[in-house]
């Protein structure tokens, strides 16, 4: 099954995405990540107003089998969380780049965007991970 990659996002090596929107950005986990995790039953999101450095663990995704940490691709302050996920965590499985977004943050340092992977780079990264026997 081909992994879907959104053309308007930037990516981390730990399979989170960032979508820039002016001086803010949305963050979530990728299609590859949700497929690896399988049925997501709970998403623990941060508090609005909390600040994180790039690479910080900002959320935990609970699948049927296990809890997995999620890492923020950019430094910044959380300005909104996706409250829909509390009642419907499964939208992370069905629409990881859309309705399954996790948080919106105020970008602290736009220079960090250059450290993220482009869609083409991430496609290559995922292809490699799959070839190494993701499953």
């Amino acid at each position: 099954m081909a992994t879907s990659i959104s053309p308007d996002c930037l990516y981390t090596e730990s399979h989170e995405w960032i979508r820039v929107d002016g001086d803010q950005a949305y963050a979530g986990i990728t299609d590859y990540a949700q497929d690896q995790l399988s049925d997501i039953v709970y998403v623990e999101l941060p508090e609005v107003g909390a600040s994180y450095a790039k690479g910080d663990n900002f959320a935990v995704v609970e699948s049927v089998k296990a809890a997995s940490d999620c890492y923020l691709g950019l430094s910044g302050e959380i300005v909104e969380i996706n409250e829909e996920l509390e009642g419907q965590p499964e939208v992370v499985n069905s629409d990881p780049y859309g309705a399954g977004w996790f948080v919106r943050l105020a970008i602290a340092d736009a220079a960090e965007l250059g450290t993220l992977m482009t869609p083409a780079e991430y496609a290559e990264f995922v292809a490699k991970a799959e070839a190494e026997g993701g499953h």
Partner: protein
């Protein structure tokens, strides 16, 4: 890692293979563990459980031997029936939990995959003074489980056994899709269904026939993740979590499988002492009040102090709740007692509820 004879079938079905007790088994198929779990509750599911171990006990002293090594009264298991029993160390800790079948001229003891070698050595070491043969037949025996409310309807056309005459916990010798073996009205899901002990040479033929027969009725192949969530909802113990070398059957709430009247058995004195003095911890079921997923080994807290530990915890698909099993002090055993579960440094509130979460089919009929 050992591959089962159905390894290629699992790959063809898109199974995601993982290591479990030295075996390479599917943790899930593309449908996902939630859909697999619900398929077993609503329709039927087929499980490759070849990793399970089997031991044949025979000889003039077979019964005396099993009375020695198992906690339940094996003499009370009628011919053609199966009973649950634990195997204990002298200190009351649990070697394994087993299903014992009284068959013509022999007993079949079904044991856990992770304990297959350990149990066989333990059993062989306890044969002193008795005329008994203990033979591990795991390699020549292939175990499949067909579970769910449609299990009998799917199985009946494939077998010469009359399933309508096979009561719960009864077993009969017969064929499935022409493959000889034992058909047992048992399971590890809380649902109606069968466990099959087949000649290993026929494993692929039996799997294919059952899958083909059940496909029109919504039968799904089931992976380890759903196997765990199904047994968890029925509060059936998993060795290594609810049971272990330092956990006694009384602590795990399994005193119903311990006979005090059958005579001596290994572990009896330690268990009797525990019974008289009372256990210091007991297994309870709980439901999360605050949102969060309890997991194996998370601490149970009361007034900020660690008082216990979660043995199993997860999202329960049938009940759509976050639930767990935990060892707690006996004072906290009553349903309605509030506890906290330590989840990543926070205390999330939970409440003790009655076991099991999901009433098994054999207790509903």
């Amino acid at each position: 890692m050992t591959k089962t004879l159905l390894y290629d079938r699992h790959l063809a079905l898109g199974g995601r293979m993982v290591e479990f007790a030295g075996w390479e088994l599917p943790v899930q198929y593309p449908t996902g563990p939630k859909a697999e779990h619900l398929a077993v509750r609503e329709r039927a599911g087929l499980f490759d459980i070849d990793h399970m171990g089997q031991v044949i006990v025979s000889g003039p002293d077979a019964l005396a031997f099993l009375q020695r090594v198992l906690t339940a009264d094996i003499a009370a298991i009628p011919q053609g029936q199966a009973g649950y029993a634990l195997m204990c160390y002298a200190d009351g800790g649990t070697v394994d939990d087993t299903f014992v079948y009284a068959l013509p001229g022999r007993y079949l003891v079904a044991i856990n995959a992770s304990n297959n070698v350990k149990d066989t050595r333990w059993l062989e070491a306890q044969t002193y003074g008795l005329n008994v043969s203990v033979r591990n037949v795991s390699e020549e025996t292939y175990m499949l489980a067909l579970q769910g409310p449609l299990a009998a309807a799917i199985m009946q056309p494939l077998t010469d056994a009359d399933l309508s005459a096979l009561a719960y916990h009864h077993a009969v010798e017969g064929t499935v899709a022409g493959v000889p073996g034992i058909i047992s009205h048992t399971g590890y899901t809380g649902e109606d269904g069968f466990e099959l002990y087949l000649a290993a040479s026929g494993a692929v033929a039996a799997w294919d026939a059952i899958m083909a027969q059940g496909a029109p009725q919504g039968l799904l192949p089931i992976g380890l993740a759903a196997r765990d969530s199904l047994r968890f909802e029925a509060a059936m113990p998993l060795y290594g979590q609810e049971l272990g070398p330092s956990i006694s059957p009384l602590e795990a709430g399994l005193s119903w499988a311990v006979s005090w009247t059958k005579g001596p058995f290994i572990g009896r004195e330690a268990l009797l002492k525990q019974r008289l003095e009372g256990v210091t911890r007991t297994l309870v079921a709980f439901r999360m009040l605050d949102r969060g997923v309890p997991r194996h080994e998370y601490p149970v807290l009361s007034d900020g102090q660690v008082v216990g530990v979660v043995t199993s915890g997860m999202y329960a698909p049938t009940l759509d709740q976050f639930l767990g099993l935990a060892f707690v002090p006996p004072a906290s055993r009553r349903p309605g007692t509030e506890l906290s579960i330590g989840i990543r440094g926070r205390e999330n509130r939970a409440v003790v509820v009655k076991k099991p979460f999901y009433i098994p089919a054999y207790r509903r009929s």
